[in-house]
């Protein structure tokens, strides 16, 4: 360096430039961490939003958690606000909250039933466009999103986490934002969103589902039909089926361990056909009959009963979804599109009319893989067990 002293002077001049501020500093105690978002239609086309905010708790001396206090101070805080659009309502909400709303940990989005009737495409757009929002957040429909978000989870930190755990436990892919957006923009432009209801102030319950077409509500499915759809969409894992065994005249419970669904599309002489093959592997959970499972004939009997059960369920589901609601949530459109791109090109604009006319053949195959820890009815004397 030619002259000593230049550098320190430069540093002194440059340093204050660094002091002008950190624009985006985010301290944990300046954030309102939102664990769940609820969206409901209000009067005159307005939108009401609900947020479930995690309230940071300070542990008092003595090690007792702050859960023991009276009303008002739960682990989460429910807020709501109404505005023209979701961002407008959130902006108004922000004005009431001293901390900056933070969406990076939002695990749950609950749409109100009325909002879904009005159409949720703008809301999906908002959720995807938002830079902080996780596409992994689970989406549900509820008659009262506020009640769901107001649930105080007794064990978990938030109701949102309880619900997320429920979803994980069932090991099926409950709708998240990404999947919902994919379905809505997919070939059939339909979607299925599970319903969630509060059982009481601490328990949410996932039960039934709603069907959307072009972003709008078309109908509701009860739990039975929903399970049929889940079977079809290969999302039925860990489900339990009760069977009536004619020979044993009593019930048998089997658990679905694994299932595989294949859809084979075929177009013959202008007739669109779909073969749906369901293959399930089951364990026997309870055997109320006197049949010994050592006998392959009895096992086959159980399998046949299960096949019949699943088949009936599939037919019921098809009746409702294909013929009543005429909404293709079964992925037929994509399947035909993949196999017959040219034919698809011709019908894609009137798929609504073609879909109910698709001839569906359901084939079910059930394999009982394990019979549990005993191979004969337990608690029954040996001579009463039917072996042949």
């Amino acid at each position: 360096m030619t002259r000593k002293g230049i550098r320190p002077i430069h540093c002194l001049i440059l340093l204050p430039l660094l002091l002008v501020g950190c624009w985006d500093r985010q301290e944990l105690n300046h954030l309102a961490i939102i664990s769940a978002l609820g969206i409901e239609q209000a009067q005159d086309g307005k939108i009401t939003v609900f947020t479930q905010e995690i309230t940071p708790r300070t542990l008092k001396g003595g090690g007792m958690g702050a859960t023991s206090e009276g009303g008002g101070g739960g682990k989460t805080l429910l807020r709501s606000e109404t505005g023209e659009t979701v961002p407008d309502a959130l902006f108004k909400l922000q004005k009431k909250v001293g901390r900056r709303l933070f969406w990076g940990h939002t695990m749950l989005v609950v749409f109100g039933e009325r909002a879904v009737r009005q159409g949720i495409q703008p809301q999906i757009d908002f959720l995807i466009r938002h830079p902080q929002m996780r596409l992994r957040a689970n989406v549900f429909i509820s008659e009262d999103p506020g009640a769901i978000l107001g649930i105080q989870a007794p064990v978990e930190s938030t109701a949102a986490r309880t619900i997320r755990n429920m979803v994980d436990l069932r090991r099926r892919k409950a709708m998240d934002i990404n999947q919902l957006a994919q379905m809505m923009a997919g070939d059939a432009q339909t979607a299925i969103i599970p319903y969630i209801q509060p059982v009481d102030k601490t328990i949410p319950y996932i039960h039934g589902s709603a069907i959307l077409k072009k972003g709008k509500w078309v109908g509701k499915l009860n739990q039975e039909i929903t399970e049929g759809v889940l079977w079809h969409r290969n999302e039925m894992k860990n489900g339990v089926i009760s069977l009536k065994i004619p020979e044993g005249r009593r019930d048998m419970g089997i658990r679905v361990v694994n299932s595989q669904v294949d859809m084979i599309p075929k177009i013959e002489q202008g007739e669109w056909r779909m073969t749906v093959r369901i293959h399930a592997e089951d364990d026997i959970e309870v055997n109320e009959t006197d049949l010994s499972m050592r006998n392959p004939r009895f096992v086959r009997m159980v399998e046949e009963a299960a096949e019949k059960e699943i088949y009936t369920l599939a037919q019921k589901m098809l009746q409702k979804v294909q013929h009543d609601l005429k909404a293709d949530i079964l992925g037929f459109a994509e399947t035909f599109h993949r196999r017959y791109p040219r034919e698809w090109e011709q019908v894609k604009d009137r798929w609504d009319q073609v879909f109910p006319r698709v001839k569906v053949k359901v084939q079910v195959k059930v394999d009982v893989e394990r019979v549990g820890m005993t191979n004969r009815p337990a608690g029954l004397p040996m001579e009463k067990v039917k072996k042949k």
Binding site: R3, I6, I13, L14, Q121, P122, Q189, K216
Partner: protein
């Protein structure tokens, strides 16, 4: 406000200039001239952007030069576009 920014820009450029000036051997006049020209260019651009932020940029120029090609690219792209407005007719 703009005056302050201008001052800041000038200050930064002067600092860079002063720092680099001593890095170039004093006998090399062309090198020092090039430095000054570069700094002047930078200063000019900064001032221009400061007072005319709407000034069309290089991309605008390129677009004008390549406009038939750009239009071809845009036209087909839109036709193939799957999204846009998936639900015409409005949902709200």
């Amino acid at each position: 406000m703009k005056g302050m920014i201008l001052l800041g820009i000038t200050l930064i450029l002067l600092l860079i200039g002063r720092y680099e000036w001593w890095m170039i051997h004093s006998g090399r006049r062309k090198e020092r001239a090039a430095l000054i020209v570069l700094l002047a260019l930078g200063w000019g651009l900064a001032v221009l952007l400061l007072y005319f932020p709407e000034l069309p940029g290089p991309t605008w120029l390129l677009e004008k030069m390549l406009s038939p090609l750009v239009r071809w690219m845009e036209g087909e792209g839109r036709a193939l576009l799957v999204l846009g407005d998936p639900y015409p007719g409005g949902t709200m």
